[in-house]
Chain length 514, copies 2
């Protein structure tokens, strides 16, 4: 009797927490619409005020997360430093919600409001300065901003707290519960494997990709992209595909997830692979289970897991032989002149060309992670105070030469190429590489259970593939941590093994067996 | 000294009021984006949750308007029942802001929160029921909803309060400070004049408008519409034109006003005149003065004045002889086959065809106000309890026959044609007719000061016209009441005189001088 009485407290709190959580989610979706519109349809003169609108909405959401009211409700549900998931009597899903909100609440409380303001202003000014500096290839013009942003990131890390490494606090913002030591271990393994593989490929006869740079009228690219989108399972009544300068995915509601693309008339890859990439992100968000839809648990559990879904559709599906066996005839029918004399095998090889490049977003599957490892090492060195911002361009060139064998002549193609640091996004880059690893490890699990992926793709059978991902990965959203998820789906924690097996098999076949 | 000391209180409060007001405006613009998106690009499956999102944002804005905090600030600024504009020591613009917010605050406080909820639910259910009933032409299916909505409107009116007539409280929501007695007087005058004018025209030889129903490919209509938009002064960097099922205008920011159109391939008027109409609304919102931009004073001062701007561009400009002297050659070049054998004069006459119709939104300039007068009389009778909802369809037919000489066979073309009542929008209709009156009275003032409008239009000189409207009408926004505005612009209160002079001159010329 006493036990039953005791359990009514947390359970009653849960009703209120769910209502509170629901409003928070609605507020965030409203903010997301302001962001989507900003990148797609907003008239140019509205930019300045849009920043103010976004500022207000983000503040409203931040205040709601940090509010005493939420803290009180979470305490009533039994949440505390030693019980972040709340009372053990609660059902699993409620405990997941409590854990998720308790984490957000605790983190938000640790950052003083004035620091939130300083971070926002520095990020805003940083992006402006970075954009101008990149255009002129002038690192010196961006240096003071970057120094300020590094100092603020450290201040933020110290507010958030950490037990092992200062970088943990930064990484945790994007890849919750993942530690620097884990990333370092995995990246060392990756580096050991990738550098020789890339070298081996460089020695082999090269593949032709010239036809990818032919004439691809935008409207036909859009026709093909939309057809593939629909066939892999994108629901037209629950999402949209629009254009924007930089492709992105954004969730605006339970049944409203939008992706964007940018078309290049003279390079097939630009739009098509980014449509598949964003579709992967979008299908994750559209696949959150009925039981978490509309709550803050309906979110990617980490950026790495989110990226695994985009990389899966972009690379493991979209750059597979089976996929092009199925789709190449249709593609060729749309671009008969451009693709004259090209067959599905040479097309497949062409979209898988390996070639070290200076620019991360243009990198192939083999060298991509080396770009990330480089950024991770540089970030880490800055956080550890062993690298000064003023020495960053030289360090960039040295790392690039060591890992990729090439180095940028101009900083615009080097240290100034990415937006992330200008927004204070230190700790973000590793999630891109982790995404590749998660994708490969999930795929091995799929194949153990469902048979070879290649066969499904060749037959254009996407439904069983998407269905499996929905059931095993998507539906959980943030109700499982990335670690819980990868263990439950694959039976093991994340390593680089599956990814390296995938790369070796695929690229030795393309480059080394001719 | 004492006087100077006393004035610091209200002035200090004003700083806080302005900041409070600014957030309120930002919040409303966020809500407006949710509405715009709902009608333009939102995926269909997102409709249900969008209603929830809108509900939350509207509640946040309502709570902010009704908040004790705002009440306290307004009191500090000297606002009260006998001093709605605050302390007399305040500058005029501050007094306008205090008056505006004090009015909103007082009205919001008078409606109990539970009534807000009941009104919203009844309006939402009412629209669903109305839509189904209209499709089947089944008034009985809508009757219970309408009875509930009338009862709620009366309850609302009683909460809001009134001194002369219960309908005043309803009208005041859309046409602030305007009284039922004024509207009744003006409408009686209008009716006395319009009915014989329409009869006179009906007796005259009719004009041809068959060419308006020819082939007008949508993309060419869009090309022409966009060209005219730009030339009359629509700033492409501060607004957009999109498509939606029902054309509308919405302000999303100081520099972000959007309009929509619907294209009919086989009827020229559908898109073109509604683009001009919505552009008129939009140019008003884009013309708010620097000193009020971004505040809640940056709003139409009344729906009647807002409508005056849309009617001005749609009718006084877009249906003028001068306008088509200027534009007809260009239009004909775009649709050479459809407009073969048509000249600017016959086109001008065609778009001004007068013919009593059952449907308000298809009405010509002469009979339009009769549709409004009819609705006003019926609303008034329901509010006065002299007309039961069950007798409404018969009363509609009787009024229609009396005023227009025709009556609908089916309720879908009669009492069920408009959405307004299904949303509880009693008191809204009169503003449409007032818009026509304001437009004509403003135009006479323009011509007294600047010379004949016709001349400007014929030469395609829109800038002096828009410039005059900006300076005299637009820039004030809600800082002047409709009555203050019409007096300051035209030197007299609103009457039907200018509108009747305009109609008689224009339509006698078209119909009675051949």
């Amino acid at each position: 009797m006493a036990g039953a009485m005791a359990s009514t407290g947390p359970e009653r709190a849960l009703d209120k927490i769910r209502a509170y959580d629901r409003e928070l989610k609605l507020l965030r979706h409203g903010t997301a619409l302001l962001q989507w519109d900003q990148e797609t349809y907003m008239p140019s003169a509205a930019a300045e005020e849009r920043a103010e609108q976004l500022g207000l909405f983000e503040t409203l959401a931040h205040d709601r997360v940090a509010a005493d009211e939420l803290g009180g409700l979470l305490a009533q549900a039994g949440a505390g430093p030693d019980s972040p998931s709340g009372a053990e009597s609660l059902p699993d899903l409620d405990r997941a919600l409590v854990r998720h909100l308790y984490r957000e609440h605790s983190l938000a409380r640790r950052i003083p409001r004035e620091l939130v303001g300083r971070l926002a202003r520095a990020a805003s000014a940083g992006q402006v300065a970075w954009k101008a500096a990149r255009e002129k290839g002038d690192f010196a013009a961006f240096k003071p901003n970057l120094e300020g942003l590094v100092a603020l990131a450290l201040e933020r890390a110290d507010c958030l707290g950490y037990s092992e490494h200062r970088y943990d606090a930064l990484l945790d913002q994007y890849e919750p519960y993942t530690k620097t030591a884990q990333v370092r271990r995995v990246f060392e393994e990756l580096e050991r494997e990738l550098v020789p593989l890339a070298a081996e490929i460089a020695e082999a006869p090269q593949v032709d990709s010239a036809f990818l740079y032919g004439e691809y009228p935008e409207f036909r690219q859009a026709e093909f992209g939309t057809r593939v989108l629909e066939e892999i399972g994108w629901p037209a009544d629950r999402g949209r595909l629009d254009c924007s300068a930089h492709p992105f995915t954004i969730g605006l509601g339970r049944d409203d997830v939008r992706i964007t693309a940018r078309y290049d008339r003279n390079f097939f890859n630009t739009a098509f692979f980014s449509i598949l990439h964003e579709a992967g992100h979008g299908l994750y968000e559209l696949g959150f289970g009925e039981e978490i839809r509309g709550s803050t648990l309906a979110d990617g559990t980490s950026l790495g897991v989110h990226e695994s879904q985009s990389r899966f559709w972009e690379n493991l599906v979209g750059r597979s032989r089976g996929f092009w066996r199925h789709y190449f005839p249709q593609l060729r029918a749309l671009f008969p002149e451009t693709l004259e004399g090209v067959d599905h095998e040479s097309f497949y090889r062409g979209v898988n060309q390996v070639k070290p490049s200076l620019i991360r977003v243009e990198a192939d599957e083999v060298t991509y992670c080396l770009h990330i490892i480089m950024r991770f090492r540089l970030e880490l060195a800055m956080v550890e105070n062993s690298l000064k911002v003023s020495d960053l361009p030289d360090a960039w060139r040295a790392e690039s030469r060591r890992l990729l064998g090439i180095a940028p002549e101009h900083d615009a193609d080097g240290v100034l190429q990415d937006v992330h640091w200008s927004m204070g996004g230190f700790g973000y880059f590793p999630t891109y590489a982790l995404g590749n690893l998660y994708a490969a490890q999930f795929t091995e699990a799929f194949e153990r259970e469902q048979g070879a992926l290649e066969g499904y793709l060749e037959r254009g059978e996407f439904e069983p593939v998407l269905g499996w991902l929905r059931e095993r990965v998507h539906r959980h959203g943030a109700a499982k941590t990335a670690d819980e998820l990868v263990n439950s789906v694959t039976g093991a924690p994340l390593t680089a093994d599956a990814f390296m097996r995938y790369l070796r098999t695929k690229f030795r076949d393309i480059y080394l067996t001719a």
